[in-house]
Subunit: 447 residues, 2 copies
Amino acid sequence: MRLSRYFLPVLKETPAEAQIVSHRYMLRAGMIKQASAGIYSWLPMGFKVLRKIENIIHEEQQRAGHIPMLMPTIQSADLWRESGRYDAYGAEMLRITDRHDREMLFTPTAEELITDIFRANVSSYRDLPLTMYQIQWKFRDEIRPRFGVMRGREFLMKDGYNFDLTKEDALHAYNRHLVSYLRTYERMGLQAIPMRADSGPIGGDDTHEFLVLAETGESEVFYDSQITDLKFGDREIDYDSREQCQAVLEEFTSRYARTDETHDEAVFNQVPEERRRVARGIEVGQIFYFGTKYSEPLGATVADADGNQVPVHMGSHGIGVSRLLGAIIEASHDDKGIIWPEGVTPFHCGIVNLKTGDAEADAACEKIHAALIALGLDPLYDDTTERAGAKFATMDLIGLPWRITVGPRGLKNGVVELTSRRTGESEEMPPEAAVAKIAEIYGVAAA
Amino acid sequence: MRLSRYFLPVLKETPAEAQIVSHRYMLRAGMIKQASAGIYSWLPMGFKVLRKIENIIHEEQQRAGHIPMLMPTIQSADLWRESGRYDAYGAEMLRITDRHDREMLFTPTAEELITDIFRANVSSYRDLPLTMYQIQWKFRDEIRPRFGVMRGREFLMKDGYNFDLTKEDALHAYNRHLVSYLRTYERMGLQAIPMRADSGPIGGDDTHEFLVLAETGESEVFYDSQITDLKFGDREIDYDSREQCQAVLEEFTSRYARTDETHDEAVFNQVPEERRRVARGIEVGQIFYFGTKYSEPLGATVADADGNQVPVHMGSHGIGVSRLLGAIIEASHDDKGIIWPEGVTPFHCGIVNLKTGDAEADAACEKIHAALIALGLDPLYDDTTERAGAKFATMDLIGLPWRITVGPRGLKNGVVELTSRRTGESEEMPPEAAVAKIAEIYGVAAA
């Protein structure tokens, strides 16, 4: 993509309303623009990262055997009355009256509707297990929205729901979600620690939140430092294997890690003192097993092998998709701007032309740009006539992990410069070698 | 995908509320389920087709140089007051009051918000031309929603907006959209005819609707039969070339083709009688040039080359994404069910095991299933224990364009059967040949 043809409205000044670094950088890098309090437009570069995060979630959910679908944003109040949550939900639910005076709402979550779909279509234990999920916009009418996409009102969420015959089956679904979430966050360059959590308005016994450590986190967290040494890595998992999923759960949850909601000072004090950590964390996901809490009131039953009607065991499992952009930036930035992990970067690398208009520099940039595109990569080529300093400042701010700098002086010696955004280190090499290096980093075959 | 692990709730009976064939088949094939009047959940197979359609639109929009982004569904009433449409829009606008008593709405279209983004960030003619688009859920509170996804209340729409310095530039953007839409619809297996249309509440002089001929269409259409012989085909277009885009516009709009809104009997009668056609059509898209209708009241101006502030020339361009599923089915079905065009089929082919449990048949099916997946294809394998007749009926209903039938008798002779859903013709061949044929149809390299 040529920057001259893109829409990247970078701001020089820091907007006054932004209190945390991710909000400041998302505004300054032209990723989002506030439309109303807690409601944002996703400008092209913000939307690009959002789609990358969505795609990783889709891939990992489907790898775990979960089935994608989509429910509407506007729902009737009726189902929520059946479950008893219509009155319980409070002012955070955006309530709407349509032209026929029917009570509707903008859905904050979808346990009721998915259970309605299930009960209308599934009647036998033979159709279980079943896990479906969606990535859909939700609305919670926060009284004081803040921190940009971290605590907005309209937000994108992945919500998945499992239906199982027995508690044991449902706990396997729970474990499967835990495993797939660990993989998902790692692919985004995040370490998200599963912590024992409180079930809140969804209800249920078993629940873990996934927290990313960051100074600006909304939760205080308490953990055994050994937990941050755990990596999921590229291990192969058979998601049908209860043993394998259970083993991962045990590995990642056996050390102390809790939010302030479930913190137990006495248990924490059994961790050796030098390993006790108190920090702050950003919640980026949560998994729940809640048994028959919804299937009973909503009549979601199946016939078991003996022909008895039994309510199904359920769980729900969420990832805060739009807030992940904020969490990633909180976890990965410096004073110049964002530092995108390779897995979610909006462009694979930047190309800076130090002297747009110079025939040789222009030709070299065009060639690098075309070579990267031919490899299936997506570079951002700054072909504008801004001065070099401004081009570097923009590249640093928007945080592409790699930058190829092309100028007449280097080209005289047959080289361009390849720079890592994370380390700041630069290396001179021929243009072809820079292209090959980028190809290697992203695991695509060089031509 | 193994059917035993998928969620495909096929209905035997035709739901009473469905009046047109696409609505009936979408319900019976387990693609959608009504959540409230005019509001649907997209069950897994429906969601799959929706995503395919979205992806084709994204690819073709970006090929034309248009930039994807995303605006929120809930917007403040303030901007709509600035443009004068808040009061003009009437009861179809879903109006909402939030917890702070602010007037909000679920956006039916986004001219105001995109113009606000533009005016806040663009100030010079140097930043033009610019076309941005989104694929986002919209809401129109239809008084009598009907025909399933064809006239729903919550619907998915692609809406794109161009910003140009002059009328001439904006008309090139208009033509570019016309060309990209022709390509888009053809990739979905649709012939969508651009017809001169009425501008309605969006306003403006130039507008074409794209209509798919179908008996159940909501519009009466009048056209010269020569127009249905036109094909866009696989011609290469340089979207920056005004001449090329203008030539396509002229080719596809020079013959008489109008909806009842703009029909002119006197002009129509100049078409030779044997070429005059009166039929019905489904609107699947519309493009508009509306000049400075929004840029003037909203103050979206840029400095031109002489430093004068001038309002930008705009247009907006929509595709009814969710209604396209209905339109495709209306245009492509028979009395057994849907017949998906290859470009949008939810699965590339079906595999029917005539005798699940037979070791040889099971092994042959598994091998075909694995071979297709290894090629990057996405088959649906009916591995259930239903009888053969029921399996065939389901495959015909859900409309996968190709079916591989595997049974012990054929396998004794070393063959399976490959059947075209469209023609009903079957051919016996070795399993490897069937896989190779499917690979060839979808243009993937056989191993």
